[in-house]
């Protein structure tokens, strides 16, 4: 065998041995136990400290208040949503007290009007809605009810109301077109308001023969949009509605 090959062989064998030795010492112990990773890392991540104790923890000591909240509109809102992460309080109740937000800016984080929130979710305009008064003056956060059953639909249907306000239908009260039983205000998702279910309802103003003021647009009900209810094409709340 040529001398060159022998010498190179020795050099490469030396490198290979060094590599194997280094590999033997440096690869972490638990690497590869469960997969191509350091199994010990899972345990160290699982051992991170808790920040949020979880709503079950609160029930143990604060039963009356959690029971009250549990039957209210806030039943799905866990205590730590408002009171902040309270794991420390749960382990040392005497020394660490969770905060109770009382300032006006807090509740609008959820209840301030935002068009992206679902219609029907109670929203207010924080600037116009009883300015300067803390929310808790009228609303109990553990059993939030409107102090008076909302007289106006806009308390919950802000998005629709704000659109309607600048539409051609601005002067019509909601109840002109929608039947809304009183129960809807108390249990909004169980009892739903109605919508006009005949073409003639809109025809009451918009048919050619209707006895309404002459500036209201008219349509020939017999030929126009046959087979559809009017609101399936025309969105009555929309300012640009055609």
């Amino acid at each position: 065998m040529p001398q060159q090959v022998v010498r190179l062989g020795i050099a490469f064998a030396g490198l290979a041995i060094v590599f194997m030795a280094v590999r033997q010492t440096l690869v972490p112990d638990t690497f590869g136990e469960a997969g191509h990773y350091r199994a010990a890392a899972v345990d160290s991540i699982a051992a991170f400290p808790l920040q949020y104790a979880g709503h079950e923890a609160c029930t143990t000591c604060h039963r009356p208040i959690t029971e009250k909240k549990g039957t209210s509109n806030h039943s799905g809102v866990s205590c730590e949503v408002c009171h902040g992460p309270a794991a420390e309080h749960a382990t040392a109740p005497g020394s660490v007290k969770p905060p109770a937000p009382r300032e006006r800016g807090f509740c609008p984080m959820c209840h301030g009007y935002n068009a992206s929130r679902p219609s029907g979710f109670p929203q207010i305009d924080p600037v116009a809605h009883n300015p300067t008064v803390p929310c808790m003056t009228c609303h109990d956060p553990h059993a939030p009810e409107p102090p008076v059953i909302p007289g106006a639909c806009r308390a919950c249907h802000g998005q629709i109301a704000s659109q309607k306000a600048v539409s051609h239908h601005a002067t019509l009260p909601c109840l002109t077109c929608h039947e809304a039983p009183d129960e809807h205000k108390a249990t909004p998702r169980l009892i739903r308001p109605g919508k006009p279910d005949t073409r003639d309802f809109c025809g009451g103003c918009h048919a050619e023969a209707a006895a309404s003021p002459s500036h209201i647009p008219r349509i020939d009900m017999s030929t126009h949009g046959d087979g559809y209810l009017c609101w399936q094409c025309h969105y009555p709340h929309h300012p640009g509605s055609e």
């Binding site: 001398q3 060159q4 191509h36």
Partner: protein
């Protein structure tokens, strides 16, 4: 910033240093493929650059992983890539492709090629120099005709293995980017191929620059036969490279997937200077035209009209422009990718910092460093034809 981008996209994770990495690696692969022209394909004209190309490849290969290393959040943990490589990861294989290329291809080929020189120098020199050259021979001091014949044959075989390895090295770098399906700017099967050909272009251009400049500095005459041949190969490689890039471009435009809108905003705005002006016009079209007119690539007649001195200057200018163009390709790939949001709804901006680990100064240092290493290598192992050592006196 414009439109919507995810909060983690304001700052670019892969900065200037990652632009350098494919750029430097490409120079390695290109220089090696140039060397193989002389060795395997027997292109006699480029013989004067054979050893120079090998040393250039080595110098740049030594530096190529350094920007990567400097960019890591934890460089001190980088050895993990050798110890526990994730076989599914394109990047994990880099360590091995790199090691294979450095140890098995480049060092071996250089060793076989220079062994005779090492032995002769070890015999002539005294003191520490003697020992240094002796160590380089690894104790293999037989320079009989038979042994040298074996060296030559071994070198030839290694070059033959080396060509696919060089393709692998840079095609693979392209794969690191091209295989990221999350990113429409990267995700393309053509990416490795484009990387490969742009690597060949940049490598030939680099050796051309070094050859012309070093020869002038040494007060020697540039072998115009060699320079013409290099320029010709540069021209051919550029034509292939540019066609591939255009194919990629047209393919994207024609397919016009959901990302096309944000990508055209990217090209028309943020990347206009680096893509259209630098990469395509200055880095490709201008040198292509000049080389086409001046070099013997298209016809021998063109060459005769232009005096050698002017031709040399034009080659040098073209090669420099090509370097700018190839660097812009790397920039557009690496930086361009991160300028638009994966939500495809917005663009961010990148400003390279001057100081700091990822700054311009650091990047400049990584560009200069291979030249310093090359200078050292040339001192230790002169690659020039006229330095060929005479045969030893008969013992």
């Amino acid at each position: 910033m414009q439109g919507y981008i995810y909060p983690n996209e304001f700052e670019l994770r892969w900065s200037l240093l990652i632009v350098l990495y494919p750029y430097l690696t490409g120079l390695v692969a290109g220089a090696f493929i140039l060397a193989s022209l002389a060795r395997v394909f027997n292109v006699k004209e480029v013989e004067p650059t054979y050893r120079l190309a090998l040393l250039t490849a080595l110098a740049f290969l030594i530096v190529a992983p350094l920007p990567l290393l400097a960019h890591l959040g934890h460089p001190e943990r980088s050895y993990e890539i050798f110890l526990t490589p994730n076989r599914k990861s394109a990047m994990a294989m880099f360590g091995f492709v790199y090691a294979w290329y450095l140890m098995v291809v480049l060092l071996l080929e250089i060793w076989f090629d220079y062994r005779r020189d090492f032995v002769l120098r070890a015999r002539e020199a005294t003191g520490p120099r003697k020992w240094f050259y002796y160590a380089l021979t690894l104790g293999s001091t037989d320079i009989s005709d038979r042994a040298l014949g074996f060296d030559d044959k071994a070198g030839r075989w290694i070059t033959i293995i080396g060509i696919p390895s060089a393709f692998l090295l840079h095609g693979y770098v392209g794969f690191i980017f091209g295989s990221v399906k999350a990113n429409p700017w990267w995700s393309s099967v053509l990416m490795p191929v484009v990387f490969l050909f742009s690597a060949i272009v940049s490598g030939i251009a680099l050796v051309l620059i070094i050859y012309i400049v070093a020869t002038l500095f040494r007060g020697k005459k540039v072998d115009m036969g060699c320079a013409d041949k290099l320029a010709t190969f540069l021209f051919y490689a550029m034509v292939v490279d540019f066609s591939l890039e255009m194919l990629d471009f047209i393919h994207r435009l024609y397919e016009s997937e959901e990302s096309i809108e944000i990508l055209s905003q990217l090209i028309e705005g943020r990347l206009f200077v680096s893509l259209i002006v630098l990469q395509v016009v200055l880095g490709t079209l201008v040198p292509l035209i000049w080389l086409g007119v001046v070099s013997p690539a298209l016809s021998w007649r063109g060459t005769r009209k232009v005096p050698a001195e002017v031709r040399r200057l034009i080659y040098l200018g073209c090669a420099l422009l090509v370097q700018v163009g190839i660097f812009s390709i790397r920039w557009n790939v690496v930086i361009g990718e991160q300028l638009f949001s994966k939500s495809l709804r917005g663009l961010t901006v990148y400003k390279a910092e001057l100081l700091g680990v990822e700054g311009l100064l650091m990047a400049g240092a990584f560009v200069i460093l291979p030249f310093i290493i090359l200078w050292l290598l040339v001192k230790i192992m002169p690659p020039w034809v006229e330095n060929e050592l005479p045969a030893p006196p008969e013992a």
